[in-house]
Symmetry: C2
Subunit: 209 residues, 2 copies
């Protein structure tokens, strides 16, 4: 297996933390997003969507999103379990993943890519150029604030996001909360449950991945 | 198990077709979205996100998105397999699901909810009201056109979306292509591969679900 990574982007960080939790290291190829390596013909052969992460399997299959990559890694390296031990837990974890991806990560990206000067004409990832929509940047920011409130509320009732143990959802949520720095949005001072959880996740060795 | 459904919405239709392919029928509760039943306190208890589908398990667990619902149903009713027979196929199917959800279904919803008079202040699903953004409706439409082109290209190389057999991804893609009627967007005449595939999926008994 070969992992196409970039240290500054949030999506591949989800995979890096996942691998660190599993204690696994893979052959890794860095993609220089800052200098547009994802737009080259060579990278287009690896991923026509021009995003990282990509996991290249030994038979040439290429997985081009962090969710499917983590699914494969979970089955390949089952310990410690991060995605559910039975059908119900797997479904519950998938449900929370969806929430955190949509309401957290996607909201942050909506604000970030629609407001940063470096992303003019690149308001969406992928092969097609889309212009920025300033109103969408504002809406994204409002969504991020609602996400923090929702997450704080959830963590007032549950030690971890998906339940009483650390799972892949905590990785996704932690990457999202951390990446909110890119839009200069802070966890509110009174979000005590969210802060308690963030401190706990930050203290794990995998958080530096 | 109890399935909370609505016949006019695309997301629960994904579950209905999935169940029809499995030959399974569940106890079903209809939610009257047209008259705002999802906004009542009673439905808020079932799903605070105020969306359908919801699958209520016998222990009270509630799954509130079609992807996690299908995951649970796949493990509960394994035949015929729709989500992958081994780790690699499961990951590849998950990857295509992600593409079709993001580039297809979400793009259609982006256009639909940001342009329909009935969705003023309801540009996103969920508990919070967001105003419509007309530019986003236009961008959604452009994304749907690109989705049709991408899907046609994929289906020029593959009999079904995720590979050489019918899977959950065909259900998601079929529901998306069909729901594009809501934004009066048509599959282009020259998208011959997409039309060949759509005819094949339409001919399955499950398509009427």
């Amino acid at each position: 297996m070969k992992f196409h990574d970039c240290p500054t982007a949030p999506s591949p960080r989800r995979v890096r933390i996942f691998l660190a939790e599993k204690g696994v290291s893979l052959e890794t190829q860095m993609v220089d997003l800052a200098n547009g390596e994802q737009l080259t013909d060579a990278f287009g052969e690896i991923n026509p969507h021009r995003t990282v992460p990509v996991l290249e399997l030994d038979d040439g299959t290429k997985l081009r999103d962090s969710a499917s990559i983590c699914m494969l890694l979970e089955e390949t390296f089952p310990d410690p379990n991060l995605m559910g031990r039975d059908a119900k837990e797997r479904a519950v974890i998938a449900m929370w993943q969806r929430d955190v991806e949509t309401d957290g990560l996607m909201a942050i990206m909506e604000c970030f890519r629609n407001s940063s000067k470096g992303f003019r004409s690149r308001a969406l990832t992928g092969p097609v150029d889309y212009e920025q929509i300033p109103e969408l940047a504002e809406r994204g920011r409002q969504r991020v604030r609602n996400f923090f409130a929702e997450l704080n509320s959830r963590l007032s009732r549950s030690e971890y996001v998906a339940g009483d143990r650390f799972t892949v959802v905590d990785i996704t949520a932690f990457v999202a909360v951390d990446f909110s720095r890119a839009i200069r949005e802070k966890v509110p001072e009174d979000a005590t449950h969210l802060k308690r959880w963030r401190d706990a996740i930050s203290a794990r060795p995998s958080a530096s991945a």
